[in-house]
Assembly symmetry: C2
């Protein structure tokens, strides 16, 4: 059982739980940064105390975002690498724990870079890419293509509209971009050559867990006969050890809809896209 965390660390966990901007990989790297900082700075009178605290912090971070396999996988990997406290001094544990976190962050960044190279090879100069939501891995692919005369079609991705953030990034690279409502996704697939999305989690049966709205895009891409590529680092794979998949429901107030009796507003963030709709997984 996790111990109660000191308030400043609990606040970091709460921030991860509440984060609606960052994708799963980014949040996993951010969680590792939180662990590295805690390894250096958390008050502890012995290696054993620090070890217990860091494990409790990692456990709380994993539990904060149950839909996001990368957080579980990277933090689980980090916990396993922590030396047993009996064999190590407090200062050594601080240094090693922070170094392990940095190594995993680096490995995650390298995975994104390898995917960006592979993804960019799959898209031809002059093609139009349609995407949904904001994926830092998709952004890495598009960055490589910024001088290849591509165009990009971006959905708003209600309710938080992180598509605006993606459009802003593409604007900075002078990539001609079309911004549409989520409802227009089926219409605009007809103007695209390739659909490209990120992943929050890859399921054991090859299905994708990603931001809600991904499944209609995949259906439309399939109907239109264009490839549907998913950028996905290997550590996004769900393992048996994880808690059952939970599709996180967020605050209905985010929709800004009026309240009426007998009307329930739903705001589920993630959905499953079946393996049969996925043309290719782009991984490291």
């Amino acid at each position: 059982m996790a111990n109660d965390l000191p308030q400043p660390l609990q606040a970091e966990v709460d921030e991860v739980a509440a984060d609606r901007e960052r994708g799963a990989s980014e949040l996993a790297r951010h969680s590792l940064e939180i662990l590295a900082t805690a390894a250096h700075t958390a008050p502890a009178d012995s290696a054993a105390t620090l070890h217990t605290l860091l494990n409790a912090l990692a456990t709380a971070l994993m539990a904060a975002r149950p839909s996001m396999a990368p957080i579980y996988n990277l933090l689980h990997c980090w916990c396993k690498e922590l030396e047993k406290p009996a064999a190590i001094s407090l200062d050594e544990l601080r240094t090693e724990a922070a170094a392990h976190a940095a190594q995993l962050i680096q490995a995650s960044r390298e995975a994104v870079e390898r995917i960006a190279v592979r993804g960019a090879q799959l898209i031809q100069p002059g093609e139009t890419v349609i995407t949904h939501s904001f994926s830092s891995t998709v952004v890495a692919v598009l960055e490589k293509l910024q001088n290849q005369s591509i165009q990009v079609i971006v959905t708003e991705s209600r309710p938080r509209c992180e598509g605006y953030q993606l459009a802003q990034q593409l604007s900075q690279w002078a990539i001609p971009t079309t911004l549409i409502t989520d409802a227009q996704v089926g219409l605009f697939v007809q103007h695209a050559d390739v659909a490209l999305v990120g992943a929050d989690t890859l399921l054991a049966d090859g299905a994708l867990v990603n931001k809600v709205g991904t499944y209609p895009l995949a259906l439309a891409a399939h109907a239109q006969g264009i490839p549907f590529y998913v950028c996905c680092e290997q550590f996004k794979r769900r393992t048996e050890a994880m808690s059952p998949l939970e599709l996180e429901a967020m605050d209905p107030a985010e929709l800004g809809a009026p309240a009426y009796p007998h009307v329930t507003v739903k705001n589920i963030y993630f959905e499953i896209t079946p393996a049969r709709l996925i043309t290719e997984w782009i991984s490291e």
Copy 2:
């Protein structure tokens, strides 16, 4: 060629062109009301002058909403029924023109009523219906089912969110309703027994023109194996005589998206759903 319309009549045409709330049938009936009022009250010194004016008004109303076949069909029908002015006095023309408009409005309302009866027979007590956008014909079906323990899933239908209006109506009938973003449509089809939408236009090949977002709903219903029913009065059928189908693009500002260089916002209201995805047309 249409004559220039007197300003008050042109204002009515402009209002029809700008209307984002009413569906095609409602706007067609509203256009007939405009014609009936003009028949009674438009200044004219002879039957010939009034005849020319009313024809010009009808032509302008038809041109105001090129995506909406019901406006074309009902107004074309009305024009054909107008007596030649040589055979009739000014007062007789006023009376007859207004009466024809009233008859067509009545015929349109009766068509909706027949569809409501048929549509209600296709939905079993206790079933969950998913719909998109606001269709007065779908509302007529759901009204008949208000004591049948049905539930309804309603999309927002960005950018104008006419789904809120539908949710409000269902709330008044105490029908348990779930309101979702357009992006959640694929996820929530899995909780529905039946998909039911209205139509702006029925194409010659059996395809449907309806509010954008209808096609993803139809794809998801097909993938999920639930029926996709379309409520559609016969006068929504496009004929050869109409101008080529144009999917109306509306003001991009309706999205409320930030402006960035190289980013174009698109706001197309209608899209085509192919006949193969439609389980059954419910018509009068």
